[in-house]
């Protein structure tokens, strides 16, 4: 049976998540900023219409706040992550196989589904709109590349009402559509490849579809040759089974962030690293693992070429595996002290927990003290529960700093409407 794929994704996903809980944002130009409030990472349709570019530095758009009522928000990944999990769960019910591709898009394998697939896709959109309040688009085709391209068409051409399937049109119509789309929109064709292809006279998707596969392979390699096959409806890429992926525990946990402003002092770096390790240890306990190696790194800002540059990392083996925040914090502090050099403006520091294995596996160690282990695990449970119930960082190590200066700027973050009891949306009953 010929395979059929759908690509479903959320329209302006971050902005849409914000709008669900804040209807005031509806119909207005809204942008969401990256975690330092530096760049624009999501735009509403209205913001696009104002000519705001994706990824543009926010200061370039700031004048639109006054002139056009542009609304800006810091990113709230806690909220987007929860909405994404709901989105994927609902979509997963519409197909036997699902590959979660990013926070807001997934592939579905619709092979063998007897229903009218366009109607099936409309049902998905309707369900998601009702359950989650999020607008989505669906593209359907005989390969993942075609599904992705169909999604692009569904998004740009409103008369398809959010669902485009290549089965909508015959070969001539399909070619005409592809001739109208520039090559950069094809899945896997980046900016550099686009320029090289254009130099060979391949400008539109249709050009690529009919390009000689042997020529493409010779000049660009097998990956792009595969893309040509996929554009011709010959499926070469299969779904990666995300269910299996999710069942597998992570083998490393990373927590790192850029600082809101340059950091010079060891004390502040130590606080930052301790707070990152705190977060990482939480994740470690969530998946029921212990880690036996800790990696700490720091670096200056490589985009400030006139500043003196320094970057260094250190890996610390732990005698016994642990998930205790206090133990990890102790070694993280020792590590950062070791690699710190004064006289630099640091931009970023991070922590990686490595060598993860199921908790309790190395109990037999000579130095291990079972009752102490037990107390440690109880304390960590209490800490996690308190932080879950009352918001993260309610209970934390003093070493993480009481009023940190280095934290991210995210001055306009919306509440965690779906994950924190004290940040729920309000239902007004006063009129």
């Amino acid at each position: 049976m010929r395979p059929v794929f759908a690509l479903v994704d959320g329209n302006n996903f971050y902005v849409s998540c914000e709008r669900v809980f804040n209807p005031r944002l509806e119909g207005k130009p809204v942008v969401v900023l990256s975690n330092n409030d530096g760049c624009i990472v999501a735009r509403s349709q209205e913001a696009r219409a104002l000519g705001i570019r994706m990824g543009a530095p926010f200061f370039e758009a700031k004048h639109l706040i006054r002139s056009h009522g542009l609304i800006w928000l810091s990113s709230n990944y806690t909220l987007y992550g929860d909405m994404s999990a709901r989105l994927m769960a609902v979509l997963g019910e519409f197909a036997p196989h699902q590959e979660i591709y990013s926070i807001d898009e997934c592939f579905l394998d619709l092979t063998g589904i007897p229903n009218d697939l366009v109607a099936h896709a409309q049902q998905m959109r309707k369900r998601i709109k009702q359950y989650l309040g999020l607008p989505t688009c669906v593209g359907i085709g005989h390969s993942k590349t075609l599904a992705k391209l169909a999604n692009h068409i569904a998004k740009k051409r409103l008369h398809y009402q959010g669902v485009f399937s290549w089965s909508h049109c015959n070969r001539l119509e399909a070619d005409a559509l592809m001739a109208d789309i520039e090559i950069g929109e094809v899945w896997g064709v980046g900016r550099r490849l686009k320029i090289k292809l254009e130099q060979c006279g391949i400008r539109s998707v249709c050009d690529l579809k009919y390009a000689s596969t042997s020529l493409i392979r010779k000049r660009f390699g097998v990956v792009l040759e595969r893309t040509v096959h996929e554009l011709n409806g010959i499926s070469c890429l299969h779904l990666e089974d995300t269910e299996d992926h999710q069942a597998v525990r992570k083998h490393q946990i990373i927590s790192s962030k850029s600082f809101g402003k340059p950091v010079h002092e060891l004390d502040e770096l130590r606080q930052a690293v301790v707070s990152y390790v705190t977060r990482a240890a939480e994740k470690l306990r969530q998946q029921g693992s212990w880690c036996s190696h800790l990696l700490i790194y720091l670096r200056t800002n490589p985009f400030a070429p006139h500043d003196p540059q320094y970057a260094k990392s250190i890996t610390i083996p732990l005698l016994v595996g642990t998930d205790d925040t206090r133990v990890l914090a102790k070694y993280a502090s020792a590590g950062i002290e070791r690699i710190y050099r004064p006289g630099f403006a640091y931009k970023k520091a991070g922590v990686m927990l490595l060598d993860l294995h199921p908790a309790g596996q190395d109990l037999g160690d000579l130095f291990c003290n079972p009752p102490q282990r037990e107390r440690s695990s109880q304390l960590m449970q209490v800490m996690d529960r308190l932080n879950q119930e009352y918001g993260s960082n309610t209970l934390r190590l003093a070493a993480a700093g009481l009023r940190p200066q280095w934290t991210m700027r995210s001055s306009e973050r919306s509440p965690n409407y779906t994950t924190a009891w004290h940040e729920l949306a309000q239902a007004c009953a006063n009129r």
Binding site: F21, N22, P23, R24, E26, R86, A89, V90, Q130, Y131, L132, G133, L295, S313, I314, T315, I316, P317, L318, L319, K330, Y331, A334, G335, R338, F367, N369, P370, P371, Q372, Y417, T418, W421, L424, A425, Q426, A427, C428, A429, N430, R431
Partner: protein, 148 residues
């Protein structure tokens, strides 16, 4: 990545462990001996309120009430609403409506083509939705959790 010199770190790992009592070796599990528990076959899992309150986890959101206009429906200021968006709004149900950019809790009235958003409190007048005016029902309130 170079392997670092770990002496200072190790020295802190090898710090002496002070303890007052002596512990016996730990053996997991118990040796089965004697009479088996007669209740062993009758253990049931504890009741979980989520099963009762949240039928569609993906579509369920919690909201906090502000104000007293729904007091007649047993919804008080500060209460927690369990909103199930998978339920279809219908006449008589308590709903969350997006009204003038605000999420508002009201009782939905649909009669003879007329749509009203009613408060459950005589002090608050009903809001009539006129023809052509767009009303967005955000979700249906499934439960209210009121602290006594």
């Amino acid at each position: 990545m170079k392997s670092p010199d770990l002496n200072p770190l190790l020295s802190s790992c090898f710090a002496p462990i002070r303890r007052r009592s002596c512990y016996r070796p730990l053996i997991a599990g118990r040796a089965p001996a004697g009479f088996p528990s007669p209740a062993a076959d009758h253990y049931d899992k504890r009741l979980d309120l989520n099963e009762h309150l949240v039928l569609h986890p993906e579509a369920t959101f919690f909201l906090r009430v502000k104000g007293n206009s729904m007091i007649g429906a047993g919804i008080h200021d500060g209460d927690l609403l369990v909103v199930d968006r998978s339920l279809e709004p219908s006449h008589g149900r308590v709903v969350i409506a997006a009204l003038d950019g605000e999420l508002t809790v009201k009782r939905l009235h649909q009669q003879r083509g007329k749509i009203l958003l009613c408060a459950d409190n005589p002090d608050y007048p009903a809001i009539e939705i006129r023809q052509g005016q767009e009303l967005q029902i955000w979700g249906v309130v499934a439960h209210v959790i009121h602290k006594v």
